[in-house]
Symmetry: C2
Subunit: 191 residues, 2 copies
């Protein structure tokens, strides 16, 4: 029951953080949306900051599940697996109304004023990159990418360009920037 | 004198918006930093929203000046002019402590909750793109880019990837993501 309340707060909180960002999110509004008493919120979370950090962990659990699903699918060649992960992420953005990426949103908003959030978001991007880089390394072994390719650099480039495209998707409210970016990246990486 | 006060508020406000974002920026803190009385602020700006929009206009005036300087330099081939603009922008980020791009920051933070800011930031990116696209068109005419290249699409891609790299620069507090992105883009666009 207590675990349910915590999950419910995190799920609704992730959606509200994605739309509102951190400073515009009122805890009162979250409590109202989830019909949760204030005491219950502070039972699960020490502070708004603690809640934001746990919301990022919950978001990352979904990201890692998507990476497990896509990058672990050995029926596909490695580059297709990587692309599939981003296509799945685009599908997630669609169901949310093309609001982009929570990491990008909180990273932009908070990294100038909070070392805690700056490090947290950077660690999340680095974790995603390490997994993508491992799959790109496999693509190099299999000859899908040129032997001299730097898998770590190419993984970071992909994440960064994706985040820029995700911002534009949020601004234009359509998925075209994501697709155009993936087409360019994969065409350029493996001509 | 009144014009000076307005300029002073906008200049300091741009720097504070870049670090804090919109919701975390207190007008009281801005008045204190600029030693401006409250009445004077509301003489120049109808509201915080109006101030934010005028700060974006002031930022865009600088962007257009940079575009004039770089893209208008006919001593350079067109692709070099485009790259020069982004290198100049990186230099600007350096002097500000690698906090990234004000348009990306406000676009991420506000586009989920404000149609006014969402449209404003999208218009700014579109305006930059039109100018970059015109220069890419010249690069096509001069044979620097393949004849079938879509200058509008390639301009949008460049801006979007740049914004993602700028976010990462803000998170890592170093310029490497910007340079790696430009290297990849120009190597891929004009192999």
């Amino acid at each position: 029951m207590a675990a349910d309340t915590r999950q419910h707060l995190l799920k609704e909180g992730m959606a509200m953080l994605l739309r509102h960002g951190y400073h515009d999110l009122g805890i009162a509004a979250l409590l109202e949306a989830t019909k949760t008493p204030k005491g219950s919120f502070y039972h699960h979370f020490q502070s708004k900051e603690d809640f934001g950090l746990q919301a990022i962990d919950a978001y990352m659990a979904e990201v890692h599940a998507g990476l497990d699903h896509c990058l672990g699918d050995e029926s596909m060649p490695p580059l297709k697996r990587v692309r599939h992960f981003f296509e799945l992420t685009e599908e997630k953005y669609r169901t949310e109304g093309y609001l982009g990426c929570l990491l990008g949103g909180l990273g932009q908003e908070l990294s100038g004023v909070s070392e805690v959030f700056r490090r947290k978001v950077e660690e999340c991007f680095s974790a995603i990159e390490r997994r993508v880089a491992a799959c790109l390394r496999e693509a190099i072994h299999r000859g899908e990418l040129a032997p001299g390719t730097d898998p770590d650099g190419m993984a970071q480039l992909l994440i960064n360009c994706w985040e820029g495209a995700a911002l534009r998707t949020r601004l234009r409210q359509n998925p075209a920037p994501l697709r155009e970016m993936l087409d360019f990246y994969f065409r350029s990486a493996a001509p």
